[in-house]
């Protein structure tokens, strides 16, 4: 109808992505406690393990990657509920569904923002915790790389769960029940890479499989999440 397209409404895909991410980050910055809680939970769970199993350095070094990875998995579950709930309550999500822009891109923006607020801090914190377990420098590097590849998958798969349980009572526990089994391959390859480097095996296969999972999740989960949101919002 309007032959002259309004420039303000013509966002490029990346512009749109950036807009959603910066908006979510800004909102999160107003409630910094939420982000910190996840991080503190992560640190606490990891620090509890030596107290539970004893201080033998050899054993701790052996179980370190598993402990860090499981703790990362659990703490990323904690923040999943917040991914869509605030936008759902104040009606923003409904506007997003009605918007002419692709819902998948909007969802991808929200997923990336969630990762920056949950996965990225965990990844940066992990080497410090790894030192508690006497991990070698090389192992720490691999741990960080595996978390860099793996935590976005947790956010992506988690987004599907969060979208499916949107607005349900007891959604927090339910989302973990749905998402945790689906995250098992990530856990396996993530810890596998670190264990491979400590036992002197090659790590490329683990990391490339993790990368393949990331690509797969990147290709499908935003679309599936958008579909799940549509189902939940009807």
């Amino acid at each position: 109808m309007n032959p002259k397209p309004d420039n303000k409404n013509r966002l490029s895909l990346f512009g749109l992505l950036g807009l959603v991410i910066s908006r979510d980050l800004m909102l999160a910055m107003r409630r910094r406690a939420d982000v910190l809680t996840t991080l503190i939970f992560f640190v606490m769970v990891v620090s509890l393990f030596p107290l539970g199993v004893g201080p033998e350095v050899d054993m701790l070094r052996k179980m370190a990657p598993g402990v860090v990875w499981v703790a990362a998995l659990l703490s990323s579950m904690l923040s999943l509920n917040r991914m869509f709930s605030a936008d759902y309550i104040d009606g923003t999500l409904e506007q997003m569904l009605l918007a002419p822009q692709s819902m998948s891109v909007l969802v991808l923006g929200k997923i990336l923002a969630h990762w920056m607020l949950s996965g990225l801090p965990l990844m940066l914190m992990a080497p410090v915790l790894g030192l508690q377990f006497d991990m070698s420098g090389q192992a720490l590097w691999v741990l960080v790389v595996s978390l860099l590849l793996g935590t976005p998958i947790l956010s992506m798969v988690g987004a599907v769960g969060a979208a499916l349980t949107l607005g349900l009572r007891g959604g927090g526990v339910l989302v973990s029940l749905l998402v945790l089994p689906l995250c098992i391959p990530v856990l396996i390859f993530g810890t596998g890479a670190v264990e491979a480097v400590t036992s002197g095996m090659e790590i490329a296969s683990h990391l490339s499989l993790l990368g393949a999972l990331l690509v797969l999740a990147f290709a499908f989960t935003p679309w599936v999440t958008a579909m799940a949101l549509r189902i939940s919002m009807e």
Binding site: V160, L164, T165, L168, R169, G170, G171, L174, L177, L178, L180, P181, L182, I184, P185, I188, F189, G192, L209, L213, V224, M227, A228, I231, S232, E234
Partner: protein, 245 residues
């Protein structure tokens, strides 16, 4: 002879059809169980390596196969319900889920009881056992998600999406666990591949068919209740003789 199949996809006719069909699956199932177990316990010879303990196989293998097939069938029904918006297929999916979960549990239980005398441990982190456990978790997720959504339409569609994601994930999970297992355990556990006696195969196959019939009968009986619950405000339910006091 032209049968109008779509006629049976209406809940009112399917309710009637399921009621007629269920006994025709239930009784053959009981007979087949009896025949299969008779062959398994009285005809099949004692295994040379595992003595009598191997007889658990006649239940364990069919239960494992059933748990996986029911998940696939359930995901297919759910997908059909999601894509074509047919209410009945979604109802069938939710009727199948508890039975599938029970078969997964039986498979794990019998596996543990078989593992104890054979490998000396109730549980090993073998690829098959671990995948079966995760399959049970996936069933729990499906049932829990369906149960916690009040709006039946949303419950059907949301759990359908979950079932589809789960069925895509099952092979990925299986191969990743298998790979993880070979890295960690090497060859601590070997499934001894003894050549199976013909009677053993017959017993296992008969029990498998019995399990199929059982699952179909139970799912049909369960879907009848689900249909009545969902359609309780319709005229045909109001006119049902069994709902009259």
């Amino acid at each position: 002879m032209a049968i109008n199949w779509f006629k049976y996809s209406a809940p009112s006719t399917f309710y009637w059809l399921a009621g007629k069909l269920a006994p025709w699956f239930a009784w053959p199932s009981a007979v087949l169980f009896a025949v299969g177990l008779y062959i398994g316990f009285f005809v099949a010879p004692t295994d040379a390596q595992q003595s009598e303990a191997y007889r658990i196989i006649f239940l364990h293998v069919p239960a494992s196969i059933m748990s996986m097939f029911i998940y696939l069938v359930m995901a297919c029904y759910a997908a059909v319900g999601l894509i074509f918006n047919t209410r009945l297929s979604s109802m069938m999916a939710s009727a199948l889920a508890p039975t599938g979960a029970l078969f997964a549990f039986i498979s794990l239980w019998t596996g543990a009881l078989w593992g104890k005398p054979m490998w000396g441990t109730w549980w090993v982190w073998d690829a098959r056992l671990t995948s079966e456990l995760i399959l049970l978790f996936l069933y729990f997720g499906f049932i829990a998600l369906h149960a916690s959504i009040d709006d039946p339409r949303r419950a059907d569609r949301a759990s359908a999406l979950l079932a589809i994601i789960g069925s895509v994930n099952v092979p990925i999970i299986y191969f990743s666990v298998k790979w993880w297992n070979t890295l960690h355990q090497g060859s601590t556990v070997k499934f001894t591949g003894t050549s199976m006696h013909a009677a053993m195969q017959q017993a296992m196959f008969t029990v498998l068919v019995a399990c199929w019939f059982y699952a179909i009968a139970v799912a049909l009986a369960r879907v009848r209740s689900i249909i009545l619950e969902r359609e309780r405000n319709t005229q045909w339910v109001a006119e049902l003789p069994e709902a009259r006091s």
